[in-house]
C-alpha cells in the first residue's frame, strides 16, 4: 500500500479486519456507494427499456443512416433532403461550432475593448461603457435575440428594395449579400502564398526572440512578418494571372443570386451572443486589470513607457492570469447559449436534433446526441483554456 493515512507508523501497514480500521471502513463505504450508483443506473435503464417496450417505441441509433427528408436553411457542407439523419446532425454540429467560434472571438475583442473603456480617464467613454454593460447584462438573452431578429425583419426592406450602403453590398430582410472574388486559380495560389508567409513570419518571430534574448537587439518583427504574409500572397496572386473578376449579387427571380449571403437568423444570433457575452467579458477584463497593483503602472511610467505600452506590455500579460479562468466559463456559456438559435430559426444542433426527434420519434437517442456533443465541445474548450492558462502562468513568473 502506497497510501499512508495519518497516525500510522510508516511501513507498518498490516491489515486488521475491524470496523475500527479506517481503511476497512472507507473501502466498505466506497463499495456501498458504488453499488448504490450501479443499482440506480440499472433501475433507470431497465425501466426506460421496459417502458419503451410497453409503449411500443423503437430504440437505437438505426435511424441515423435513413434519409432525413427535411430541408435545412443554411449549411457549411453540402446537404439535401436526400441525405441521412447523420449528415443532417453533422450540419447542426458544424453550425453550432461555427457560430460559437466566431462568437467567442468577437466577444473577446469587444469585451476587452469595453472592459478597458470602463477604466478610461475619459468620463464619457467610461460612462457609456458601463451603461452598455448594465443594459446587456441585465436583460434576458432570448429577448435580445428576438430584438435583433425583429430589427432585421421589421426595419430592413424586402429583397426587391434592398439597401445598398456600398455598391454591390445589399442589405434586406433576407440578410446581407456581398460580392466575393469569382473562383479562379489565382485565388487558391494567393491562399497558398499567405500560408507560406504565415509560416515564414512564425520562423522570423522565433528567431528575433532568440536574438533579442541573446544580444538585446530588437527587430521590427510585426512589420517584417506582415510584409512576408502580404508579399507571398501577392506573389501567389500574380503567378495565378492576377484575377480581378468578382461574383456580384444580382436580383434574379425571388431572391438575390451570386455573391455570398449571410442570413438574418445567423446575424441576429451572432449579434445577440456577442453583445451579451461581451458585457461579462468586459467585467472580467476590468477586474483582471484592477487586480494588478497600481505600483506596477507607476514603476512602468517611471521607466518612461507610454500608457498604451504599459497596458500592452505590463498590465495585460499579468491580468491574463486572473482573467482566463472566469473567461473560460463565459466561452462555455456562449456555446451553450447558442442553442437559443432555435427560437429564431438558425439551424444549430439543437434545432436539427429536435426536428430529427420529431420525425423519427427517437427522443432519448436525440437528447443523448445533443448531450454528448455539448459535453465534448465544453470539455474541449475547458482543456484548451486550462492548457493556455498554464502557459500564461509560466510566462508570468
Amino acid at each position: 500500500m502506497a497510501v499512508q493515512y495519518g497516525g500510522r507508523p510508516a511501513g507498518g501497514t498490516h491489515w486488521r479486519l475491524s470496523w475500527n480500521d479506517r481503511n476497512v471502513r472507507s473501502i466498505v463505504y466506497q463499495i456501498a456507494a458504488l453499488a448504490a450508483v450501479v443499482a440506480g443506473v440499472w433501475y433507470f435503464v431497465d425501466n426506460t427499456l421496459e417502458n419503451l417496450r410497453r409503449l411500443g417505441l423503437a430504440s437505437g441509433f438505426g435511424f441515423m443512416d435513413r434519409e432525413a427528408a427535411f430541408p435545412i436553411g443554411e449549411s457549411l457542407i453540402d446537404y439535401t433532403p436526400a441525405d441521412t439523419y447523420a449528415r443532417a446532425l453533422l450540419v447542426g454540429v458544424i453550425n453550432t461550432l461555427y457560430v460559437s467560434a466566431i462568437g467567442i472571438i468577437l466577444a473577446t475583442v469587444l469585451g476587452t475593448v469595453i472592459g478597458i473603456a470602463r477604466l478610461s480617464r475619459n468620463w464619457l467613454i467610461a460612462k457609456l461603457a458601463s451603461v452598455y454593460v448594465e443594459m446587456t447584462r441585465n436583460t434576458p438573452l432570448l429577448l435580445q435575440l428576438f430584438f435583433w431578429y425583429m430589427i432585421f425583419l421589421e426595419l430592413l426592406p424586402p429583397a426587391r428594395q434592398a439597401l445598398q450602403p456600398v455598391p454591390d453590398v445589399f442589405l434586406s430582410n433576407r440578410g446581407v449579400r456581398f460580392p466575393v472574388p469569382a473562383a479562379a486559380d489565382g485565388w487558391s495560389l494567393m491562399g497558398a502564398g499567405v500560408v507560406i508567409g504565415v509560416v515564414g513570419a512564425m520562423i522570423l518571430s522565433s528567431w528575433s526572440r532568440r536574438r533579442q534574448a541573446a544580444t538585446g537587439q530588437q527587430f521590427p518583427v510585426v512589420w517584417a512578418g506582415l510584409a512576408a504574409i502580404v508579399g507571398c500572397g501577392v506573389v501567389g496572386w500574380l503567378l495565378g494571372g492576377a484575377p480581378t473578376a468578382l461574383d456580384r449579387p444580382a436580383l434574379r427571380g425571388f431572391n438575390f443570386s451570386g455573391g455570398v449571403e449571410v442570413s438574418p437568423e445567423f446575424v441576429a444570433l451572432l449579434l445577440g451572443l456577442v453583445i451579451y457575452t461581451a458585457a461579462f467579458v468586459a467585467e472580467i477584463v476590468r477586474g483582471g486589470i484592477l487586480a494588478i497593483s497600481q505600483g506596477q503602472t507607476e514603476a512602468a511610467s517611471a521607466l518612461g513607457l507610454k500608457r498604451g505600452m504599459i497596458l500592452r506590455l505590463v498590465i495585460l500579460p499579468q491580468a491574463l492570469r486572473v482573467i482566463i479562468p472566469p473567461i473560460t466559463s463565459q466561452y462555455l456559456n456562449l456555446t451553450k447559449n447558442s442553442s437559443l438559435a432555435v427560437a429564431i430559426g438558425f439551424p444549430d444542433l439543437v434545432h436539427l436534433a429536435n426536428t430529427a426527434i420529431n420525425q423519427t420519434g427517437q427522443a432519448i437517442e436525440g437528447i443523448a446526441i445533443i448531450m454528448a456533443v455539448y459535453l465534448t465541445i465544453s470539455l474541449s474548450i475547458s482543456l484548451f483554456m486550462n492548457w493556455y492558462n498554464r502557459r500564461v502562468a509560466l510566462v508570468e513568473r
Binding site: 411500443g56 430541408p71 426536428t355
Partner: protein, 340 residues
C-alpha cells in the same frame, strides 16, 4: 420556443425512465383527476384558439370536449395544453397530455415508431402554399428559387422538400418553431411563401393577415393531411372511447340528430336512433361509459356538421366548404362505423 421541446423531450425521457411500467391507466387517470388534459395547437382560428374570454374554441377543441363528455359527462372538464408542432409528440409520449387534438396528420411513422394510435379523421386536409399577391405568382410550379416559411417537426416540411425535389426546383427554407415568429417572418417578407395545411392557410389569411386581400392561396394541394385526434399506445379502452366519440358526432349527422332536435329524438321509434341516444341501452356499457354518452356529446357539443359550420364553415371568417369533410352520403369521406 424550442428549449421547451427539449424540456418536453427530456420529460419524456424522465417519465419513461422513472415511472414503473403500467398499462391502461390513461382512462383511470382522467376519471380520478376529473379532467381530460388535451394537447392543442398554439392558436389557429377555427381549430384551437382562446376567445376574448380566454376560453379555447375550435374544431380541434370540440373533439377534446366530446371526449370529456363521454368520460366525465361534462364538456367543460378539459384542461388545454398549447403545444408547438415539435413539442406535441414528446408531450403525448411522456403523459403530460392524455391526447392530442392538434391538426395532426395520421402517418405510418407516427402510428408505429412514435407509438401512437389515431382516432377517425376529424378533418380531411391537404398542404397548400400562400404567397403575397404582389409577387404575381399563379401556380406552385413557379416557385423555383423561393424562400419558404415552414414549421419544424411537421409533415409539412417533409412534403415541401419532396415536392420541390419531384419538381426539380430549388428553395430556401426558414424554419421556426413558434407559430407567432414564423407568421411574422412571412408577413414581414422574410419568406416569399408560407406553407401549411390548406385549412391553416385559410385561417391565417382570413384572421391573422393584416390585410387578407394581399395574399393568395395557390391552387396546388401537394399532399394528403388526414388530421386526427391522437392517443399513445397502451390504453385500448381510452383509445376506443376517443374513436367512438368522434364517430358519435358523424353518426348523429347521418341519423339526422342535432343539438336542436335531440329531445324529440328521445321519442323516436327508429331502433338505430334509440340505440344511439341510449334509450335502448348497450353501447355505453360496452364502452365502459354512461349510456347517455352519445346523447350528451350531441347535446353539449353538437353533431359533426354543427361542429364544422360553427368553427370553420360558411358563417365563419374561414368560409370553408364541406368538400371531403361532407358525409359519404353527400359525396364526402365522413363515414361512421355502425353503432351496434
Amino acid at each position: 420556443m424550442n428549449k421547451l421541446s427539449v424540456l418536453a423531450a427530456g420529460a419524456a425521457l424522465a417519465v419513461a425512465a422513472a415511472a414503473p411500467a403500467q398499462a391502461g391507466k390513461t382512462l383511470d387517470a382522467v376519471k380520478q383527476r376529473g379532467q381530460l388534459i388535451c394537447g392543442v395547437s398554439q392558436g389557429t382560428a377555427g381549430f384551437s384558439r382562446p376567445n376574448n374570454q380566454g376560453a379555447w374554441e375550435g374544431l380541434d377543441v370540440d373533439f377534446c370536449r366530446a371526449v370529456a363528455v363521454a368520460i366525465l359527462g361534462d364538456a367543460s372538464k378539459v384542461r388545454y395544453v398549447s403545444t408547438t408542432a415539435a413539442q406535441r409528440f414528446p408531450a403525448l409520449q411522456s403523459g403530460e397530455v392524455d391526447m392530442l387534438s392538434r391538426t395532426t396528420t395520421a402517418t405510418l411513422t407516427r402510428d408505429t415508431v412514435n407509438g401512437f394510435n389515431f382516432a377517425p379523421v376529424t378533418f380531411y386536409d391537404g398542404q397548400g402554399f400562400m404567397v403575397p399577391k404582389k409577387l404575381g405568382v399563379k401556380s406552385a410550379k413557379e416557385l423555383n428559387g423561393a424562400t419558404v416559411c415552414v414549421s419544424p417537426g411537421t409533415t409539412t416540411e417533409l412534403n415541401l422538400a419532396d415536392y420541390f425535389r419531384a419538381q426539380k426546383m430549388q428553395f430556401k427554407p426558414v424554419v421556426i418553431e413558434k407559430v407567432d415568429e414564423i407568421r411574422s417572418a412571412y408577413f414581414s417578407g422574410r419568406c416569399d411563401v408560407y406553407t401549411t395545411d390548406a385549412s391553416g392557410l385559410a385561417s391565417l389569411r382570413a384572421v391573422d393577415a393584416p390585410n387578407p386581400e394581399d395574399h393568395v392561396i395557390l391552387p396546388e394541394i401537394i399532399s394528403k393531411e388526414p388530421l386526427a385526434p391522437t392517443v399513445r399506445h397502451g390504453d385500448e379502452e381510452f383509445a376506443d372511447i376517443v374513436r367512438w366519440s368522434v364517430y358519435a358526432t358523424i353518426e348523429a349527422e347521418e341519423l339526422g340528430i342535432s343539438s336542436k332536435n335531440l329531445e324529440q329524438m328521445l321519442k323516436s321509434e327508429d331502433p338505430a336512433i334509440k340505440r344511439f341516444v341510449g334509450v335502448t341501452p348497450g353501447n355505453g356499457k360496452a364502452l365502459g361509459v354512461d349510456e347517455k354518452w352519445a346523447y350528451n356529446i350531441i347535446k353539449q357539443v353538437g353533431n359533426y356538421g354543427e361542429i364544422f359550420e360553427r368553427n370553420v364553415g360558411k358563417g365563419t371568417p374561414l368560409k370553408l366548404e364541406r368538400g371531403l369533410n361532407d358525409l359519404w352520403t353527400r359525396g364526402g369521406l365522413q363515414y361512421a362505423q355502425p353503432f351496434r
